[in-house]
Structure formats: C-alpha cells, structure tokens
Symmetry: C2
Subunit: 407 residues, 2 copies
Amino acid sequence: KINPERLWNTLHETCKWGATHRYGDGPTDTGMARLTLTDDDASVRKWFATEVQKLGCTLSVDQMGNMFARQSGRLSSPVPMIAMGSHLDTQPRGGRYDGILGIMAALEVLRTMKESKFQTNYDVGVVNWTNEEGARFPMSMCSSGVWAGAIPIQKAWDLRDIHDPDVTLRSELERHGYLGDISCSSDPATGYPLGAHFELHIEQGPILPETGRSIGVVRGAQGYRWLTMTVHGKDAHTGTTPFSARQDPLLASSRMIAASHDIAKKHDALASTGIIRVPSNASTNTVSSQVTFTLDIRHPQDSVVHAVQDECLRAFDAIAAQDGKGVWFDWTLDTDSPAVEFDHNCVASIQAAANQLVGREKSMLMTSGAGHDTVYTSKHCPSAMIFVPCKDGVSHHPTEYCSPQDW
Amino acid sequence: KINPERLWNTLHETCKWGATHRYGDGPTDTGMARLTLTDDDASVRKWFATEVQKLGCTLSVDQMGNMFARQSGRLSSPVPMIAMGSHLDTQPRGGRYDGILGIMAALEVLRTMKESKFQTNYDVGVVNWTNEEGARFPMSMCSSGVWAGAIPIQKAWDLRDIHDPDVTLRSELERHGYLGDISCSSDPATGYPLGAHFELHIEQGPILPETGRSIGVVRGAQGYRWLTMTVHGKDAHTGTTPFSARQDPLLASSRMIAASHDIAKKHDALASTGIIRVPSNASTNTVSSQVTFTLDIRHPQDSVVHAVQDECLRAFDAIAAQDGKGVWFDWTLDTDSPAVEFDHNCVASIQAAANQLVGREKSMLMTSGAGHDTVYTSKHCPSAMIFVPCKDGVSHHPTEYCSPQDW
Ligand SMILES: NC(=O)NCCC(=O)O
Ligand SMILES: NC(=O)NCCC(=O)O
C-alpha cells in the first residue's frame, strides 16, 4: 500500500518550482507555470534525478531529454522495462496535477516497493517525457512522438519558443544538459525500448466527478488535429472605408471561429480556438492586415474529426467571400493525433485491479479527451492509462484539484 | 502659385524618418512607421523647426509638444494667428500622406509667400499637432483635444505606450525636449489661441476618386466612439471540457465582433474591431481566460452612434449568456468624438476657392469619416478642412498614395 501523505507532500514540495497564479490563502492554493525546459523545469528534473538515484535506479536521458529511471528486477534477463510515465512540464496557466501526479505516483510506487523490500521479477521504472504540453514549443506530446517514430527528431528540435523565436527546443536541451546521448527511439539497438507503459493521470474532464466514480479505466484516446489558420486582408481606415470596400480578416476570423463551434456542435465533436493574434502594429482605427488563429478539433472517431475539418474549411471559404471585397486564408496542420485504442490486456488488468480496489460501481471504462504520451507509446508497446477524478473537471487552470482521497 | 515639385520632394525627403514596409522598387514605394515621439518623430520635428525658422517664423512649443510656427503679418496688431495645421506622426503601418501632406503643404504655402514676397495683413502659421493618430498612445487627436479643453492634460500625459507601459506620453515629451513651457490651451493669457484653423488632408476614403473629383470641401466630421471590451471566461482544457461546461470568452468575442458588424450595417453606420488580444500565456489546447477587443463605431449623426452602441451592448449581453455556462464582460469608453459642423464662413471660402480652381464639377461638399485635429480646433476658432483624393481610398496602409496632380 502506498503512502498517500508522502505522495501529497512530495508533489506539493516540488511545485515550488513553477508555482504561480495564487487563488487562495493555503500553501497549495496556487497554479503552476513550469513550461518545459525552463529553469524551473530544469530544477524539478534535477530533483527527480536525485530521488530516483537515491532509490537505486539507473537514469538514462535520450536526445529529446526524456528521462528513464530504471529499477532492476530479480531476474537479470535483458528485457525492456515496464514503465510508469507522464510529464513534469505544465501549461502556462496550469495546475498542480496534470502530468505531475503521474510522475509522483510512479515515484511513490518505487518508494513503497523499496520500503517493503518488494522486488519485481523484471525491471520496472519511471519515464518523464519532455514537452508533453506543447505550450512552450507548440507540438504536444512531442518527445513521446519522436520516441514512437511518429515525429522526426529534427522537426521537434527545431520547434521555436512561441515567445522567442531565437530559442529552440534543442538549444534549451543543450543549455540545461538534457541533450542525452542515447537515441530517442524504441529501437533496442540504439534507443530505449519499453516492455509496457502505464500512465496515471487526472481525467481533466467532468465525467468521473459527475458520475461519482473514482477510477477511469482508459481504453483509448479520441483523435485530434490542430490547425493554424492565417487570414489575409488589407489594412484600411476604420472611419473612412465603407464595409463594401473592406477586406477585413478579423471580421472573417470571428465568423470562422463561431462557425467552427456550430459545426462541431452539430457533429457532437469539439472545435476550439485558444489563440488569436493580430500583428503587433495593429491599431484601433485600422482594419487589420492579417489574423492568425488556432483550431483544435476532436472526436473519438477520426472520420468525424475529418468531417468537421472539411466542413469548417468549406464554411471558411464561404465566409472569406462574404463581407466587402473578401479575404483569403491559408492553413497548416500542426498536430495530427488519430484516435487510438489501448492494449486490451493492459486495459483488462487495470479494470481488474480497479474492481478489486474500489468496486465495479466506482470505476468505469472511458475514452480520453486529451492527448497523452501513452497515445504514442501504445504504438510500440502494450499501453494503457488510469484516470483519477479532478474537481469539477477543471484542468489547464490554476485551481485544478485532485483529492488525495482518490489516490 | 505653389511649387508642386518642391512640395513632392520635401515631403518624400522627410519620409526618410520612419520609412518602412517597402512594396515596390521606386524610391518612394514604402509606407511609414513614424509613431509619435519616437526618435524618427523627433528627427522630423527638428527638421521642421529648422525649416520654419529659416523662413523667419517664430516657433513656440506647448506642454503637449504641439509646435506653432508663426509668420508675422504686415500689421502688428496682436490678434491670434490664422493656422494651417495637421500632424507629422503616422500609423505603425501607415502611408506617406496622412497628416504629413497637410504640414508639407502649409510649409509650401509659407515658402511660396516668402519667394513671391507676399505678406499677409495678420500673422499666419503652421501647427504640428502631437499624437494625432493615437496609435502609440491610444487616444487620437489627443493634443488638439487638450488644447481645446476637451481632454485633461494629466490624462493625456499619463497615456502609456501600448507596447511598453513604463513609457508615458509625458516621459517621451521630456526625453525629446518637447515638454514646452506654454500652456496647452487656446487661452490668450497662458496658451496659444488661434484665429482660424485650416487643414489640408487626404480624404482617406473612396468618394473623391470614385466620383472623379479633386477637392472635397469638408463641412464637418462624423461622430465616433472607441470602446474597449474585456470578456471574461475561465481557462479549460479544449480536449476534455464539453461545450456545455465552458465559459469561452474568445467564442463570445467572435460572436460579438460579427454582431457589431451586422448591427452597424443595418444602421448604415460603421463598427470595426482593429485589435483583439488573448493573454500572452494562452495556448492552443486551453480555452482562454480573457479576451479584450476594440470597437470603433461611427456615423455622421451622434444619435445613430449611440443607437449602434446600445444595440451592440444588448446583443453582447445575449451572446454572453449564449454558449456553455456563459461569460461576462465589462467595457471602457476610450474616445468620444461627437459629430461636428465646421464654421460656415470657412467652409464657404474654401468652396469659393475650390470652384475657382477646379470648377464646380470637380469639387464637392463632404463629411469627414475620420477624426482630425480640426474637429477639436473648431470648438475654439473658425475651422474647416480641404480634402484631396488618395488612390482607391486606401489609407492607414503602406501603399497610400496621393498624386501631385491633385496639389
Ligand atoms: N493531457 C494534456 O493536457 N495533454 C495535452 C495534449 C492535449 O491537448 O490533449
Ligand atoms: N485622420 C486620421 O486617421 N485620424 C485618426 C483618428 C480617426 O481614427 O479618425
């Protein structure tokens, strides 16, 4: 049995690196901004390295800065380790549990095993995946993606800090000494293969709390695509230019964002815009020259994700021609994460354990709304996830909360 | 008769301070970014001071950095001078004529008078008004507004650079030595009263070019109001938060911007959003916590400006409640510039001169769509404006062009 108090204390202790967005008076009443490969992230990584080494683990770092801590099993046969993995990086206005809980829970498992002198037959360990959030370097789960062979390493290395184009993911790996020497891959010859991958994570949605369950047995994850739209128009004076003479990319973008929502709703899918930008030289009395916005489309079935995207692009074409002299747009596909089904045996073993621990009524099978590193590991080794509830389903928000009752 | 070639050469010569946004190969094929009280603006001000002093003018600078160049008339009776005024500052993606042409034309008038040894009875001169554009310090025509007593000087001094909150309009006046010693007011005892104010300006709209006229006799300016809307929601994960649980300020803002356009169109008015901002810590997979956007509403009748504003705010209330768990908003009124009618005698004298110069068919009475410093001077002295066409009505754009044929 794990020690929930130690887990709680360890988790919040390490949140000193990145704590911000205070919302209450209690010592843990803050959110987090520990963006990947910042100084705060480097500090928590160093702490993690020390802790796993104290437990007797060996630590390997690959060329994406993924950290593999390995506890030897009783049998010395050379098979890939069974991993518990998640991430220590957060959103810029994130909470204290998303990703962090998975790493801390895995560490707690190793600590409990050591304390109770329990040794597995084969090697087990913990993985801290780099840049899961994709908030600083805009590609989510990018390092498990490289590991899985789904993202070319050069593309990941070249990702630029969204606020400072002079800083790349690779330059930050180098600055902090996390450009490791083993290849970021599951190839047994050059990389770091895994025997299986399990990830404990907060649900980040309202289903568990609303149905009063304490464990979600995750059988897969929905598909999603991230698009960046760039809408082009022409600067014009807002006081003298009749609507008929305008090419207004911000008006068109507004109609597009509203349309994408309505289209997704019709399909029971999700479409969301988190970022919109006008050029820094925009002004109140000038129609903007250009607007960019992000579009995040999700549904458990890939065919629906594609249908929503197609319908949005058709609607955008019509909107582009609608007002004044029209605007034009182009777009890029930044993330394409098809729906995945996790390994049936792994899912069944989590289900069995959950039933034993909390009973059939308190657990349920579910599909993840968010992407996770397990989505990528599942392409190379049997993988599955365990969800625990977070209060009101609130996540990617400073007040994100997960009660230790559910650990 | 003025010398159009000298006017052309002088204007483009001085555009070396701030030239940018190249769009063609020719030496003058660039736009301008000469924001008020930047180093480039300080350079052109210094040049202007030297030129008017060469002509024998006296130069006075008031506490808003407005520059008054004065040519003595034959009679030495102490009456306020008759001014030709406009502005040397530009938009961040502006052109070479907006404001600049008015100052250069006024200078050309003084040069022609000197050359032909023509002396007026009473004093005449040129005024360069500070921060007409309101692009750097977000309040348009703010220094003629202070001069007219419509804007408290402290409020204008306290305006912050939109990109650097540590820099105020006053700190920039001080840095460049333009915090003059006379009061910024029309008060004869402490300030700088004017006998009349005439402003030559490009139309910035399509009416003159579309109707083939070369002079617009401006009888007044339409009313406008600038609002800044702040829409508040709650950060949430875009992959796990159902639409019904969201408070999405960017979706609501998009619907508001589209609605304001449709409402203004119905009233034959204008409503425009030039700037929209999400917090710098926004991310693709997070519903934003907050959005701000500008709203610029215009119509020749103040009652219609107010009706559009009221209808927009009612529509925004409905939109705020529409999706998910709703959002809330607040707003500020940043500029309130009621419609004005210029002095009938000034308008009539311009009309008579225009008829004589280009004939009745080539000139027309019109209302300005944009605000100008003359809107404020008209509150304290007889004022009117002359419009000349700009190509295709394009303004607040690097390719803004005014043909010397029309000078
Ligand atoms: N768990 C999580 O927030 N992952 C980020 C990728 C996503 O947007 O789903
Ligand atoms: N002429 C001009 O562009 N003035 C700025 C104020 C306005 O937006 O009308």
